[in-house]
Symmetry: D2
Subunit: 245 residues, 4 copies
């Protein structure tokens, strides 16, 4: 069985400055994710905003099975050209796990076709993630609910298209709910959005959160699908029914 | 009851030249649609590609409840700026009925986030439209199946996101099937795609086709929804649960 | 425009005894609902468990467009024969608005095919209903969220099939969430489940709750659909494609 | 990795008599399926209608991960008690692959809540199965379309609930279409319906058909999900939010 080639992309901004983000994620959230996710089934690389081409050269993208994307306050600093390349690769089959504020990133918005805005509040309040689709592969081994000790509240109305599958709904101490774990398909690419991960909150030290992301990688992995690249093409002028295609 | 303000947009290209398209639609497909759809519930305007701003000024778009879009070979001649305005208006609530090759138009592709390509063939072969969702408002009064005497074949794989509702599936004489009547929601805008309407085919003289489009207009009409424009905003730093908002 | 013929069915048990249920709903919850829902578009009847045939004779069912069902603790006292008749009528086109604990009623469970169980707690705690599908007809005129001052908590995992449309998600003071407003289709019948309405809670005195139920009636109304009753039948032994059926 | 424990259930009626069914499936369709599906990942048993308890004792059902069900003309001879046990086991997590006329079997109808009727015709005409959801696990390795040389036509309207996922749509020589490959979830059980397999047609000698069924077994396999059995239970009278459950 081939390893899944994962690239973890991070804005890597807040964690460089002194403060809570750096205390929690001293080498950046991408490095914490890389460590926590490490296992024999994955081949993990990282890439960050400030690298040349944001670390997302053609060579990197073309050898990535599943891309994790974490962004929050520097979405606008992502070059349009590169955002478009990422969206293109997803449509061609690369899986995308969009974390936390990646809902507002350029590639995600290009793929959704909506504004992807939402209600938010940053107290670091408690959230409880409820599993509403227990037989979905991304819920494998996840309990009926689990607590986020402190997170940024993201709440409804979440301006996304109706998801293919709604897997998790989060409850917030302050009074909101959020469809915070859901999936989409775009072309040959599978997309999983999962909300935990504010930079000053410890969610990526939560084993259940990591397990959900790990399941998301398995689910989004395109390996093994040999569907021909769908195209826009003219069929021959005779009935396909007579052919063995 | 207020009338639904409908704008019918047409590329209006093929029908200007001598030939089958002009024979079938002497004043353009938009005018045929306007005549066939005319009733007391609708206030209909038309707009075409060659008008200034393609006929889609802010004033027109802002006073349109439901836009019909027909395009086929001149998608690239639609200015990006205007395509973006149309998509924006849909996300803000304007209904969109995307006809025939509008699946490949700029506004539709912006809203879908996929390539929207498909398999096609132009014989003018027979198609049979089957109703697979008989209780959907767009299927109201539509029989279990109806014939298209001659149409351009559009077939699977149709590279769209999973639709919210699949209403019609078309069978083709040559051997294909097509999810040719389906809906999507983007922001506050409702979108209905319906495939009949090749310029050299008589589909807009087919009463059942017209009835489907008329149902689509009713369904996509945003009038009466007072949902606040969803925004991306910070909630106050106290629990909403204590408030009567 | 014909009036929609609504029958409101109530277990009518708790409100007969002294106490909070009778204080809130002195003539039964069915009568409160009948009064609150009364308008020119509806022709309303009521029926209760203790009537002969539970008030659901063939004559009543056959002249009902939309049935509202409220039950809670006497599900088992509904005769199987009558539960089956109700489910049959839904499959033949009658709309069903299933209220509160109707999720656990015999007709609803027959129609769902699942156990329809859930997590519950009866404090009369606060709940906040969030609209997650603002363009759905049942959300017409409903705000982005509204408060239930006191309700019985119903929480996930709610053991239903994936709904066709998820419209409302409820937040609970005690820590749960609930997919409490959602739709299903079974045959030609449209089903809307909506959770508020514990007998000791004032939800049916809440205008927004009533408006949601009123929208649900409009949505579930089968009038105007002339789709042939789908059957299991043998097609003639010649290709339908050659026929104008 | 544990093997998936598969039980193949067959009515085993037509193949016992001389004729085409026996020529194609000399030891019964269940034996052909067992041979064709045999691989290292599966542990396969068979069961038939005429065995005691139809071969579906508690011991067999409780040690089955995925049940394949083939029935056609003797649905009524399946005991209600056993049909109910099968449906119960599905709701508790056993996967179900419903083949051909199993759409009309007692367990499937109990799980769907609809009549599951359809249009049919038995010429043994050609059908072409089109993949409309190429990234679904059940479509893994399946081409964009494949031919059924001769099959019983099953056509729309197929009176099922809206499926969770529509994977295959079949085109028929005679003029119909059919949503013939689709999935449902009921409780903890995953259900895949797939139409090919009339007893006088060679579909289970078609490698692509077998591969689809094999994918369906993998997809429906509940192993690895440790979700607690969802129940109907009262939560303690204190907020769950304060607990680490």
């Amino acid at each position: 069985m081939n390893k899944i080639r994962v690239t973890i992309w991070n804005e890597y901004h807040h964690e460089k400055k002194e403060g809570k983000a750096r205390d929690l994620y001293p080498n950046g959230m991408h490095m914490t994710l890389a460590e926590k996710l490490a296992d024999d089934g994955l081949e993990i690389r990282v890439a960050t905003l400030d690298m040349p081409e944001h670390g997302l050269t053609d060579e990197v993208l073309n050898s990535t099975d599943v891309l994790l994307w974490w962004g929050h306050c520097r979405h606008d600093d992502v070059e349009d050209r590169i955002a478009a390349k990422v969206a293109r690769r997803v449509k061609d089959g690369m899986g995308l796990v969009a974390l936390h504020s990646a809902h507002y990133s350029k590639p995600f918005r290009l793929l959704m076709g909506t504004d992807c805005n939402l209600r938010w509040r940053n107290w670091g309040e408690r959230g409880r993630v409820w599993t509403v689709n227990p037989t979905h592969p991304i819920a494998k081994g996840i309990p009926s609910s689990f607590m986020l000790e402190a997170e940024e509240m993201y709440g409804e109305f979440f301006n996304i298209p109706n998801p293919d599958d709604l897997i998790f709904v989060t409850w917030w101490e302050g009074g909101e709910v959020f469809r915070g774990g859901c999936t989409f398909t775009r072309g040959l690419g599978k997309i999983f959005y999962f909300h935990p991960g504010h930079e000053t909150c410890p969610s990526y030290h939560n084993d259940t959160v990591i397990k959900v992301i790990r399941n998301g990688i398995d689910w989004a992995n395109p390996a093994g699908y040999q569907f021909e690249n769908p195209g826009h093409f003219r069929d021959p002028d005779e009935p396909i029914v007579n052919k063995d295609v």
